[in-house]
């Protein structure tokens, strides 16, 4: 479903020269599977998620990324979203003045329009929203407030998953979704994520710690270090990393 071949990317920060962060990432995530990408800080995990979703300032210098066999990298972010690519942000943005539900409905209808589908009706939208909020134990009042403004870290992460349930994407990238969550919130969020597993869908779970993978079972684990995947394996690889640290696989020290 998602195919990365020898992907090189550099980042140009506003206040400095371009730096190469991804140095040849190859990865294949077939439909129906959940893959985890683990790695130490600065290994390029977030860069990978931004390159895949098309953020400005992230420039691919070599290699390819395809989604359902079609080139992904030439598309603007909104077209990638309409094709079903969803990123759960590590640091969700605060959007002042735009209530959560207004925003999600606008997003949903924009995606539908891009796909040539009719807009969702108000009752259908409300029904879906109610169900998603219930599943994630979100207070419905929160959905009337401006997106993420004044929300706690945990609430923001829950809202990312709420948006994910509402938009029902086909490929999900979860960037450090466990950060800022206590164990109860983590379980609720994981349940929401697991509800979207299916044979036509796939996921890339980016995380620093193994903990999240106790709740979101992955089919494969990849270790990203210094912009390259240095090791791939089954779920047991995550446990091994938890025990002996990243240095054991990255060869540092």
């Amino acid at each position: 479903m998602l195919e990365l071949k020898n992907l090189h990317a550099r980042v140009t920060p506003e206040d400095g020269p371009a730096r190469e962060i991804l140095k040849g990432v190859s990865l294949s995530v077939p439909a129906g599977e959940v893959h985890a990408v683990m790695g130490p800080n600065g290994s390029g995990k977030s860069t990978l998620s931004y390159v895949l979703t098309g953020r400005n300032g992230y420039e691919v210098t070599e290699g390819s990324a395809t989604f359902d066999g079609a080139d992904l990298l030439s598309l603007p972010p909104e077209e990638r979203a309409a094709k079903g690519l969803f990123l759960s942000f590590q640091y969700p943005l605060e959007i002042a003045g735009v209530p959560v539900m207004t925003f999600v409905r606008a997003a949903m209808n924009a995606q539908r329009k891009a796909r040539g589908e009719p807009e969702i009706s108000a009752p259908d939208f409300l029904r879906a929203s109610k169900a998603a909020a219930q599943k994630l134990k979100i207070d419905p009042e929160m959905l009337k407030r401006p997106l993420n403004v004044g929300f706690s870290g945990g609430e923001k992460k829950r809202l990312e998953i709420y948006q994910m349930l509402m938009l029902a994407p086909r490929f999900m990238i979860l960037d450090e979704t466990d950060s800022g969550l206590d164990i109860d919130a983590l379980k609720v969020v994981a349940e929401g994520v697991n509800a979207l597993r299916g044979k036509d869908r796939a996921m890339l779970v980016i995380t620093h710690y193994q903990r999240l993978l106790d709740y979101i079972k992955s089919d494969k684990v990849h270790v990203l270090s210094a912009g390259r995947i240095v090791k791939s394996g089954g779920p047991e690889l995550a446990l091994e990393l938890e025990k002996s640290g990243y240095d054991s696989v990255t060869g540092a020290r």
Binding site: T53, G54, P77, E78, A81, A82, L93, E94, V98, P146
Partner: protein, 360 residues
Amino acid sequence: MAAASPEVEAAVGHLAQNGSEVSAIAEDRIAEFGLPTRRTEGWRWTPLRRALEDAGPPWVRPDITTGVDFSLEGLLAAFRPSDTVAALALGLADDAWEYGGGAPLQIDSRSRGTGARIVLNPGQAGVVVQHIRKTEHLQTGAALIDLAPGAELSLVLIFEDSSASRIALNRVRLGTGATYRQFVLTEGAKLSRVETEVDIAGAGAKVELSGVYLAAARRHADLTSQVILNAEDAEVRQLVRGVARKGGRGVFQGRFKVERVAQKTDAQMEHNALLLEEGAEIFAKPELEIYADDVQCSHGNTAGQLDENAIFYLRQRGIPEIEARAMITRAFLIEALPDWLDEAVRGEVEQRIDAWLGAA
């Protein structure tokens, strides 16, 4: 006597053609005190000379005192002699109205100049909604607003987009416990300025000044205000938000002057602007001048660009870039709409903002 600047020459020329009693008085005052030039503090970013280019050919001045219980000369006499922009506005006036509270007053104006007087008696409430429509010529207006103790006025001023120039002055005086609320939406003009001067003369007064300015290409939008606190226990809230596109200029000048007697003043000023494109201009000058020691005063002022991180967030959710930008800009501006606006006015303002954002 001030040397005749180009501004004075142009103004006197127009006023002389007018030939009325008030224009003669205005001419005298302008000849004596001059008019603001580019070097005048408070007018640096709003060159009055450009507005005077649009004064147009002379016109037949109608008899405008009919139905109005004041003369323009009398109204002008109530302004400071050195307030020559007010003199210019009244000297060019071809329209006048007055309001004493009660049923809301709707003003729809295409006139060249308007003299207005609002006097609310103790405890009286009133609402004025003014639309200044698009014209081909300079429009000026000067309003004298007197709020007796406990009176309460809400005033909305909408400056429709215009390729000519316009200047509106509101001079407001508040008695004890009086409330003045003002909301201005300006879509800009060749040169446009709304200048509000508030004199808090009685204790416990409340003032709320809010505004939104939109400066597209070849548009100028100036919101200038001064609140002079001459009595204790006042509450002043000011929130102005504005946006400018390439070739557009937004100007915010706000001043709170808290005199020694104005203890327990609680005053907050906030101005935030977005430069939507390269080549947009925003000029801002917030000022606090405080002579009392037991006060709470603050001001905030920002001018920046749309948050690209937020734009990306919206696009990642499937919202196309142009819509994402409009959505965030709209939300930014709408926050400056006060909650006392009635539903119809609020709806109109939102619609105008949407239309402006959509006309990119």
